[in-house]
Assembly symmetry: C2
Homo-oligomer: 460 residues x 2
Amino acid sequence: MAAERLVVIGGDAAGMSAASQARRLKGPDELSITAFERGHFTSYSACGIPYWVSGDVTERDDLIARTPEEHRARDIDLRTRTEVTEIDVAGRRVRALDRESGERYWTGFDKLVIATGARPVRPDLPGMDAAGVHGVQTLDDGQALLDSLDRTEGRRAVVVGAGYIGVEMAEAMLKRGFEVTVLNRGEQPMATLDPDMGRMVHDAMDGLGITTVNGAAVTAIRTGDDGRVTGVVTDGASYPADIVVLGIGVEPETALAREAGLPLGPHGGLLTDLAMRVQGHENIWAGGDCVEVLDLVAGHTRHIALGTHANKHGQVIGSNVGGGYGTFPGVVGTAVSKVCDLEIARTGLREKDARAVGLRYVTATIESTSRAGYYPDARPMTVKMIAEYRTGRLLGVQIVGREGAGKRVDVAAVALTARMTVEQMTALDLGYAPPFSPVWDPVLVAARKTVSVLRKAGTD
Amino acid sequence: MAAERLVVIGGDAAGMSAASQARRLKGPDELSITAFERGHFTSYSACGIPYWVSGDVTERDDLIARTPEEHRARDIDLRTRTEVTEIDVAGRRVRALDRESGERYWTGFDKLVIATGARPVRPDLPGMDAAGVHGVQTLDDGQALLDSLDRTEGRRAVVVGAGYIGVEMAEAMLKRGFEVTVLNRGEQPMATLDPDMGRMVHDAMDGLGITTVNGAAVTAIRTGDDGRVTGVVTDGASYPADIVVLGIGVEPETALAREAGLPLGPHGGLLTDLAMRVQGHENIWAGGDCVEVLDLVAGHTRHIALGTHANKHGQVIGSNVGGGYGTFPGVVGTAVSKVCDLEIARTGLREKDARAVGLRYVTATIESTSRAGYYPDARPMTVKMIAEYRTGRLLGVQIVGREGAGKRVDVAAVALTARMTVEQMTALDLGYAPPFSPVWDPVLVAARKTVSVLRKAGTD
């Protein structure tokens, strides 16, 4: 019997995790694996790019978990610089374009994995393609930015966007010795937080020497005679710039899937079932930044581009494709980031998310420290907690603080997954010793305060 | 109507948290509160003593959360240096001894809180009372040790015991410039870990310049002509010492309760119900280091002396005594500690605990890092996970590693509380960004490995 044919579109985290896991379960006699990647690289950490730009990570190759050659050595027919231009679902074949030779050809599949990732939102504005304007989505983007930094004598950087990528790139440019201005379309930086917590991020960035302008919608990039960027124009002002970094966010790269008639969700991502099969298709899987994931707290799908989800998807897909078993039940929306020593974390719903899905809630915000107050290097943090009115079920947690703040969000992530109430959380047996936590961990302090707010709201 | 009379025995975390919380709920017209404390201090962090001895914390008073005067200002009749010598349960009164004046008197109560704490295990061996031999249970002990360090010219310290107090005191003496030898009765240091993980602690302590001798049962303290300690004798050897620190552990201080006929458990601690009432007594509560707590994983009571539990107990007792409502459902056995930059954490059952309660299990141990491998200061850690055979339910986690390792145990603590399976844990949405975690958090890596061990054991 001929080997079953697996085709993978996309050579980064989700696609190559799927391919590798499938290969672990089935040898080449049983399963042939062909993977198409339009870029040069495979299995790299896009999340690591800001730290490569900042200089914290010195070698590009450090961000690469597994090279094309390593994949090939594991009997995966990996074709880099080769783009899939069409999926023929009924004919079970994909059309590929070799970007080196220009050759086009069809490849048949029995099973297909779509892992086409996300593309950066790049608004169609005058000057957007000028020299010195950079996205940071791929390793190629990062290399181009680093080369541009070498060529730039000016020291003024404008970062467009104040989400995770924006704030991380603000840190990176600061570390590179630039004066950094962040232009933020929203009311506060970090729109993934509530505005009251975003305000704290703003103030802390201020303290780090980063200028953040809120409510700033970019209308044009200004260029000089040499075609190089000289400034950024917003609806209200203009900002001189020697380099511009776009950190505006990403959207699912699903043009191929759309043309093939595969089901897309409200955020433009592919819709899958729990086994990560594309809905309605027994033999097509999808994972990573091109899919929508079920938000277990909100009860609907969202688009979240995050390497940790992509790796989990790949693992699940590879298990199922390889004859094993795996499911991806969904997410609770955990994310963590930092700007210099400022740590920012969130999980679950923001206030507006709760309202949007019809939940009534209470909130509580507390100040605490990372260690016992009397212990050296006890650093401050603010924890905001959101719980459902009446039931007291945890709905979300946001944390802004210094060293030791961010990963505390994991406690809330597990509690959300387990659908705990904040009353139950007050009794959690969290690790305590003075170098690690106050005697009441900040998350417990927040839970206690939320319980007391619930009581006052008459729900106890 | 006369105010109800609340009497509290013991002025540290559990007792004074209870008194304070009761006072918050009821004013002095409704509730009179009398608290007896045999020492000088109230509401202090005994867990902080090693860091005061080490010099990390410079002021003794930093360890005191609330002084006797502060309690008195909140209408609590706090009597320091006053010991309760008898509880008359039927007569609803306690007998007190004023240690300053020598006066003895009876005080009546309507409600009683017993928070008598724990006492250090101090084996009855020759020389145990010699000058230079110190426990570290109370602030007075800590002060005596610090005074002794000032008087000591020698630089050889022997720490007896290699549990949490022992290893923390080893760090403290090292920081004070002593050559440190730890004498450990058991097979490996940190008997709260499995021996394979304890072995890692041993090796790491070695690397820190601490000599650890396992299987060393102390038989005598050797003293000089001046009555001061000169060495420690074990059954196999002797160790010169200029100072000896006893960190052998504690047992519940329940002599009073025993004499009063109150119910004690197999570990000598008071037995309470979920509201922290002493079993069979409607008007007597107990909390802190003098009670046994329900281990939710093992299904039986244990004695765990830990400030974070004592504070929770006090909060629950104070709520109930003050006419509110609170319960303490139990613990999962979380503990975290450090020796210099070595972090040690555990939660749930060890292998021998699982065997002792009739559970069959599998284990998996993995190596990972605190941050993405390519990110600066990614530090190594080892995570051991134990899961129930067949059901795959998480039973315990142990972590030994460097900075960023210890508090990861909290994820497992919440998962234990929620009775999650390790398969469920593999999908946990934990915070990921390169400065905070590898793309697979070490706890997730451990869960995945445990799942794969379970499969091989034929339980999937």
